[in-house]
């Protein structure tokens, strides 16, 4: 196993551990902090593959904007939710996980290995020089601004 795969496994493993922290924690505030940690490590996997634009988008928009609002909301409404999942679901869940894991493990045995996907070759400037993609980005930014304005109007209308 190469060092890249080990590093990727470590990052993905920490992301999964943080996500388990969301489930285990009973306080909404700590759950939101664990959720932010999970998303940061998901973004770090992008950085590992030299996809820095996606890393910046996830960290700035998802963690920086939406995540912080979520943390603020969770800090405002700190409550301990009552669990409504029965422990009897653990057996079928474990069985399903075993079947899926065995299917993934046995897939290369019954199927010949496919060609290796190779390295990721992505340049942001090549992406932005494509007019259609640039128009899509402009359109999305305009839509988000309209969404923000409508949310603002909704909030002002609800207050009055």
């Amino acid at each position: 196993m190469s060092a890249d795969v080990l590093l990727l496994s470590a990052l993905a493993g920490i992301a999964v551990l943080f996500s388990l922290g969301v489930l285990v924690s009973k306080d909404n505030f700590y759950s939101s902090l664990y959720m932010s940690g999970t998303l940061i490590f998901v973004a770090a996997v992008y950085a590992l593959f030299n996809l820095q634009p996606v890393f910046v988008l996830i960290v700035f928009i998802f963690v920086g904007a939406i995540g912080i609002v979520t943390v603020a909301l969770a800090a405002t409404y700190r409550s301990e939710p009552v669990r409504q999942v029965s422990v009897f679901w653990a057996a079928p869940v474990a069985l399903a996980a075993f079947i899926i894991g065995f299917s993934i493990y046995s897939y290369p045995i019954f199927n010949p290995p496919a060609a290796s996907p190779g390295e990721i070759q992505f340049e942001l400037m090549n992406f932005l020089s494509t007019t259609e993609y640039f128009l899509v980005v402009i359109l999305l930014i305009a839509l988000v601004i309209l969404l923000l304005l409508s949310v603002l109007k909704m909030g002002i209308g609800g207050r009055s």
């Binding site: 196993m1 890249d4 795969v5 590093l7 990727l8 993905a12 992301a15 999964v16 996500s19 969301v22 489930l23 909404n28 759950s31 939101s32 959720m35 999970t38 998303l39 998901v42 973004a43 996997v45 590992l48 030299n50 996809l51 634009p53 996606v54 988008l57 996830i58 928009i61 998802f62 939406i66 995540g67 979520t70 909301l73 409404y77 409550s79 939710p81 669990r83 409504q84 999942v85 899926i100 993934i104 290796s116 996907p117 390295e119 990721i120 992505f122 942001l124 090549n126 992406f127 494509t130 993609y133 899509v136 999305l140 930014i141 839509l143 988000v144 969404l147 923000l148 909030g155 609800g158």
Partner: protein, 106 residues
Amino acid sequence: MAALDVASISVLYAASFAILFVGYLTAISSKDVIRLLISLEMMFGAVFMALIPLFSVAAHTAFGIAVITIFASSGELLILISAIVILDRQKKDIHTAVITIGGDQV
């Protein structure tokens, strides 16, 4: 830069499935809408992780999909945050039990 071989793709998909699964578990065990919001964000994180292998096949298309997904999911979460604030204003409660019929009665 790390190369994307079969082992890396397996790790990515396994981690993505695990985070999605934990997100589902958190969603079905949540009793208030804040926890529901947190679980939704985690599910989107799992989707972002599952998108990485597409970059090795069609990098520009994958980046376009990633940008659209990030903007769309952020807008969706923004609407949910607004809905939480309005729910709290109207019902003075954020527990999912106060939502009687879907989201129509909010």
